[in-house]
């Protein structure tokens, strides 16, 4: 039974506040999630990826005044799907998608429907993964859903159901290391599960009226990078002006101001309370909203007026230059790939024949939308996505599934050396093969190469039977921790020994942005004596954080 003051129905407005609180709490705890990295490598970014995904979901509803929960949640899920980054971000977006699907056509949800939506969300999340693994975000969302499901028949208070859900999520999270030995070895709980739990915990804290360290999510810039791309001039008067200011006063009515400002211009955002209101609006005459605010007796502060027409023209002018840096004209089947580092970018674009390079890699995972933008920007109708990183794979797959009007395939490259291997196959066969055949051949070519990576450990850990001390050099072979120790040369040699490099033909050292070419050549010279059978080549990759990415062929 619902107690007095209980929350028995959630409409679009309430859902918006929940989403906002979920994002805020996740945002506040983003670094904690980043720290939950199984590997002691400097690319723990599950928290960042999930926050960016959730942020994109929020951005899509930030300006909506939608009482219909089905419509609001649809927009929220759409934003999550497009903004999905990293594998956890993709799973999160699928979770929202399932949640929204259950609410389609519903103006609000009650306890029963909430339970149904959570179930639908978990189903989608599981479907989003090719081979679901327990002990991950999937398990946490499922067990939390099961706890809600048990009580939804008798408990009508959504507030209570959120309590149950969050408690169950933390309980499940605690047990993830028992399901996934990798987590146990690393002494962490699952990062994706923790990120998702922070989101629903944020919702609960909002319902309880607790502090969630709002970090001005309300004032999230309406102008994301590339906003000009989607900007449509309102009428023949052009793009107009972007006006932002703070209204200071007493006894102000936010709802009234929001309604009035909405009538004055477009793309409005009005948030605040009776003493301080932030106004953001696009208008043709900046004087109108300013006069309105003065007329309300408010003091104006932090006044910003920008001419969007000029900004747009500038943007268009610079667009061609920017595109040249990450796009190349390619006939027939085109490849969209992801790399970090100037050396790699130029190599893929100029030498290997990629049509579009998205910046991103170990620490910066591009979103589904980044891939979709690339797919839509290219004139080509048949496209192959080459993610070059296991944590970007799912965003690429999601983009391939969402892209409309084009044939898109994903070749699941897990490293830059694998991507290069696939690009050689592409260059040799693209003119003679159909899309599916070409993608299959490129996939086969991924096996031609072993990838080694050398970096420094971000913490001490005992993993795969290897003792790692913080700050030591560590070597990974095909994503798995393989060696650790002092001295770059020692660790690189130990890594190469483990790959059987003495029986291979070609070792390529791609040096990162913290290494000079002279240092890389010195390392190559030192290695040459040990692997007489193999050629050793030094190439500028320019990648961050990893002094060396090594391909062994």
């Amino acid at each position: 039974m619902a107690a007095k003051g209980a929350l028995t129905a959630c409409d679009g407005h309430m859902m918006k506040r929940l989403a906002e609180a979920g994002l805020a709490w996740l945002h506040s705890n983003q670094e904690k999630v980043n720290q939950l990295n199984v590997f002691p490598v400097p690319d723990g970014d599950t928290g960042t990826n999930m926050t960016l995904t959730m942020q994109n979901a929020w951005d899509n509803i930030a300006q909506m005044d939608e009482p219909h929960v089905g419509k609001l949640t649809y927009a929220l899920a759409r934003g999550a799907l497009m903004g999905a980054r990293g594998n956890s971000g993709v799973i999160l977006s699928q979770w929202w998608r399932g949640f929204a699907e259950a609410l389609e056509g519903k103006s609000s949800f009650d306890a029963q429907l909430f339970s149904t939506a959570c179930k639908s969300a978990v189903e989608r999340a599981y479907q989003g993964v090719v081979s679901p693994v327990e002990g991950t975000i999937l398990t946490v969302t499922r067990q939390a859903m099961e706890a809600v499901s048990e009580k939804a028949d008798v408990e009508t208070d959504l507030h209570t159901l959120f309590e149950i859900k969050v408690t169950a999520a933390y309980e499940s999270l605690k047990h993830t290391p028992e399901l996934l030995p990798m987590l146990k070895d690393a002494g962490v709980v699952d990062s994706g599960g923790q990120g998702w739990t922070f989101i629903i915990e944020g919702m609960l804290r909002m319902l309880r009226g607790e502090d969630i360290h709002f970090r001005s999510v309300q004032a999230v810039a309406v102008q994301q990078p590339g906003w000009q791309e989607s900007l449509v001039p309102q009428d023949e008067e052009g793009y107009g002006y972007d006006v932002q200011f703070l209204m200071k006063g007493e006894g102000m009515n936010v709802e009234q101001v929001r309604a009035d400002i909405s009538a004055i211009g477009w793309s409005t955002l009005v948030v605040g309370d009776s003493t301080l209101i932030k106004v953001h609006v696009h208008v043709h005459d900046p004087g109108v909203p300013l006069s309105y605010a003065i007329g309300k007796g408010a003091l104006l502060d932090d006044l910003v007026v920008e001419n969007m027409q000029l900004q747009y023209q500038e943007y268009v002018k610079n667009r061609a230059t920017r595109e040249k840096q990450h796009m190349a004209r390619v006939e027939g089947i085109a490849v969209v790939t992801t790399v970090t580092g100037d050396g790699f970018r130029q190599m893929f674009l100029n030498d290997l024949g990629a049509a579009y390079v998205i910046a991103g890699g170990q620490t910066m995972n591009p979103s589904t939308e980044d891939f979709i933008t690339a797919i839509q920007t290219l004139p080509n109708t048949e496209i192959i996505l080459l993610p070059n990183n296991p944590n970007i794979l799912m965003a690429a797959q999601q983009a391939a599934a969402l892209a409309e009007g084009k044939q898109v395939r994903v070749v699941p490259s897990r490293s830059i050396p694998q991507g290069i291997s696939a690009m050689f196959e592409y260059a040799n066969e693209k003119d003679s093969l159909e899309l599916d055949e070409l993608a299959d051949n490129m996939k086969t070519a991924l096996q031609n190469v072993t990838t080694g990576e050398v970096t420094t450990a971000t913490r001490s850990v005992n993993l795969n039977g290897i003792k790692v001390r913080e700050g030591e050099y560590i070597g990974l072979i095909d994503d798995k921790l393989a060696v650790a120790g002092d001295g770059l040369l020692n660790v690189t040699r130990a890594l190469l020994d483990k790959t059987g490099a003495d029986k291979r033909e070609l070792i390529t050292l791609y040096y990162g942005d913290i290494v000079t070419e002279v240092q890389a050549q010195e390392l190559a010279t030192a290695l040459r004596g040990h692997y007489a059978g193999a050629e050793i080549q030094v190439v500028n990759g320019g990648q961050p954080l990893y002094p060396y990415v090594i391909s062994i062929e």
């Binding site: 190599m347 100029n350 030498d351 290997l352 290069i420 291997s421 050689f424 260059a427 040799n428 031609n448 190469v449 033909e505 070609l506 390529t508 050629e535 080549q537 190439v539 062929e553």
Partner: protein, 284 residues
């Protein structure tokens, strides 16, 4: 009956038994190094030693067409006692050989000389000479039939090669290859096709063993084969590997031969090549 005599250059890589069987005149090209010029006639130059020494040579050897005077002398001798001379040689786009031959034959009655650009190299050219000579013998010197044979062989032959290193090919300047810049940045092994007077990169791989696989794959596209010659620049083991990987696709009389230094200088020691002639070429 018309007596036709055949002239070719040393880049045709014809085996001695064929040369002797049809009394073919092979005019040598020249390799210049260490301040000396060596005729590529199988005598002046020790091929094994040459390929062995090539990587260490301080100044890169060059190759040269035979002097017109030598061509004139040898063509003149070949012309004695025959009714018609057919000259099949290296494409003018790749070497001055064609022009030396043309000058060498310019004093002869032009209605009794036919000079043909083979458009290719090594046994791709060799097969044309060999089967043209066979046709001449079988038809009692029917020039039309001979020219028809040359045309058919040319259509049905392929010459593919893979250098072990890019270095020599780059020095040669003879590869029309848009991605030459890429080779400087990333290690690339090209697989090339000699055809229509050009050397073209048709595939790029990362390692020599992948290049060998590619050669095998390309040869397999031509099966069934009437002839196969696997040529090498002092890499007998590599040639044997190609042959064994081809298995039953390789005809029983598959020949393994060291490629002429006039070609080997440009493609570099260790290089491998396959030269194929399809079955059914006589009718297609």
């Amino acid at each position: 009956m018309t007596k036709i005599h055949f002239v070719t250059d040393s880049a045709s890589d014809l085996p001695d038994d064929v040369i002797n069987r049809y009394n073919i005149t092979v005019i040598p090209a020249f390799v210049n190094y260490g301040g000396q010029s060596y005729a590529d006639d199988g005598k002046a130059l020790d091929r094994v030693k040459y390929y062995h020494d090539l990587p260490g040579m301080t100044s890169h050897p060059t190759t040269a067409a035979m002097p017109p005077a030598l061509a004139e002398e040898m063509i003149g001798k070949a012309f004695e006692g025959c009714d018609h001379l057919v000259i099949i040689c290296t494409p003018p786009t790749l070497s001055g050989i064609y022009n030396s031959m043309r000058l060498g034959a310019s004093g002869l009655p032009q209605d009794r000389v036919t000079q043909i650009d083979s458009t290719t190299l090594t046994m791709g050219m060799g097969y044309q000479v060999m089967f043209a000579a066979e046709t001449a013998e079988q038809t009692n010197g029917d020039l039309k039939a001979v020219l028809d044979t040359i045309e058919r062989v040319r259509r049905n032959q392929r010459v593919y090669a893979a250098p072990e290193s890019m270095e020599f090919l780059r020095r040669s300047g003879r590869v029309s290859w848009a991605a030459a810049g890429a080779a400087a940045l990333l290690q690339i092994k090209p697989v090339v096709l000699a055809s229509e007077g050009k050397i073209e990169s048709i595939a790029r791989v990362r390692t020599f063993s992948k290049a060998i696989d590619k050669l095998v794959e390309l040869a397999q596209e031509q099966v069934p084969l009437e002839r196969l010659t696997i040529v090498h620049a002092n890499n007998e083991a590599g040639a044997q590997e190609v042959k064994s990987k081809l298995g039953s696709a390789a005809p029983a009389d598959t020949r393994i031969a060291m490629v002429t230094p006039t070609i080997g200088t440009h493609i570099g020691p260790g290089a491998l090549g396959v030269t194929t002639l399809k079955q059914g070429w006589r009718t297609s």
